[in-house]
């Protein structure tokens, strides 16, 4: 179930690395929300389409989102002040299924925030790989370290943690014989594809959170299509807003 409501901003601040965090009073939406779901936010009257942003935290009846500047919508959002109200639709979509004895969360760049809340919801079984372009773009490391049993950092240029990509860091853990009941990944599509292939090689079930340009956010307009393998084994277009954003990686057709 989802609701539309005006939500008062309680906190808006820069998180470093080009990211902004925003907390808002979500009312009943807070209790309905699950890690991996998103909210659809009206970013000013002059912009026709809402902007989908993953939920990445909850405290009481407040929800947290973290975003970077992608365009005029997120720029507008970054210029709000505490006390103003946002028109929010949510929670929307399917979140992560979190069960087992150990889950590896693999996040890349602005894909890390939704995994933080997922990890915080299962702290005793959470382990994280966080990948960033460089040290300057790193976010949320302290919070992941507080939430997870272990947190591994990697950067494309080696300026923080290990040098390399997310899937390489995940593979080192798998190759060392660590057993995971699942991998949950969020980040750029190329990263997700590489993580999914790595997970498949080690036969670990993998869930990925996908992105696509979105319209209604509820599954009515069918614009946020992503190719998947259906129950009958044939390729079909699913929709990120309603069937996702979290998909079983084995169902995703990566090379469209």
């Amino acid at each position: 179930m989802s609701v539309q409501r005006l939500c008062r901003i309680t906190e808006l601040s820069e998180l470093g690395g080009g990211a902004f965090q925003l907390w808002f009073e979500a009312g009943e939406m807070a209790g309905l929300a699950q890690p991996g779901q998103f909210v659809h936010i009206q970013c000013g009257k002059e912009r026709l389409l809402r902007r989908p942003i993953s939920i990445c935290g909850r405290r009481g009846d407040e929800l947290r989102i973290i975003f970077d500047l992608r365009g005029k919508g997120t720029e507008w959002l970054s210029q709000r002040t505490a006390g103003e109200c946002l028109d929010v639709l949510g929670p929307l979509g399917r979140g992560f299924r979190l069960a087992g004895r150990r889950i590896l969360f693999v996040g890349g760049g602005m894909g890390t925030p939704p995994l933080l809340w997922a990890a915080q919801s299962v702290p005793e079984i959470a382990e994280a790989v966080l990948a960033f372009r460089c040290a300057d773009r790193a976010i949320l490391i302290g919070e992941f370290e507080a939430a997870c049993e272990q947190t591994h950092i990697t950067c494309d240029d080696g300026s923080l943690g290990a040098k390399g990509f997310a899937h390489e860091a995940a593979e080192r853990l798998l190759a060392a014989g660590k057993a995971y009941d699942g991998i949950c990944a969020c980040g750029p599509r190329a990263m997700l594809k590489a993580v999914a292939e790595t997970a498949a090689r080690y036969e670990v079930p993998c869930q990925v959170s996908l992105e696509e340009r979105m319209g209604c956010g509820v599954g009515a307009c069918l614009v946020c299509a992503c190719k998947t393998i259906g129950a009958d084994g044939a390729e079909e277009y699913s929709h990120v807003c309603k069937d996702g954003p979290v998909f079983d990686a084995e169902r995703v057709v990566w090379d469209e």
């Binding site: 989802s2 026709l48 009515a220 307009c221």
Partner: protein, 305 residues
Amino acid sequence: MNKPNMEVTLGDVKLKNPIVTASGTFGFGREYGEFYDLSELGAICVKGLTLSPRQGNPPPRIAETPAGALNSVGLQNPGADAFILRELPWLRGHAVKVIANISGNTAEEYGVLAEKLSDAGVDMIEVNISCPNVKAGGLAFGTSPDSAALVTRTVRRHSRVPVMVKLSPNVTDITEIARAAAGEGADALSLINTLLGMRIDIRSRRPILKNNMGGLSGPAVFPVALRMVWQVKNAANLPILGMGGVASGEDAAEMMLAGASAVAVGTVCFSDPCAPLRIRRELEEYLHNEGVDSVSKLTGAVKPW
């Protein structure tokens, strides 16, 4: 003054109010049915149906524009049989008129679809000869009076329920097509479908839509839609379902004054899921303030200079 009478008639179909949801923006009703009771609507135009299931176009399928959006969904739908089996019985559980929007690759396919769906118990057929996002059919039938006439004639012969033909704005003279459909027994016309448009990402130099072009909707097209409704009302005296960028009760009133008997809303639902109910309420308020006792009295009541 009492509440105004909101009932309207659209090609012999009685609607409890003039607010209809536009095909392609409302799925089969299930999603928005979680936000409000669908029986509050005048009618639901369901997502465009084809004989066989259609996958639709590759993404991205949407691009924002000033006061509008381009889409290139490409008629993704599960096919008419699946709709009849899985969606229609659920929709029929609500006290709302159901309009089936159909697209065919040939005139014969339109006929088969009309027969199947009218037999299955929809209240009206909306004949889509104006989809800009598919290669075969769609717009190809809507840009020449002869093919529009052929499709209308075929559907009229196979349908047991009123037939409404949906017109494209992507033509030199929309009144020609309207007259062709009217001449073959269309019970109503709906307009406008989307206007062909394009956006380009100047960094990648790629069109934002994978289909390169798409259909423009939203407030940006409202004045164009309004002008076409007015022209068509004057050219072919058929009931009109007016649509294109309607976002408020005032817009709906303008549409009706221009000649529409009922008004469809679509893109506005993306930002405001409850827009159809808000627009109905605003229209009621307008009628109340103007001292109009029945919404149907607005239809065609514009006083041109």
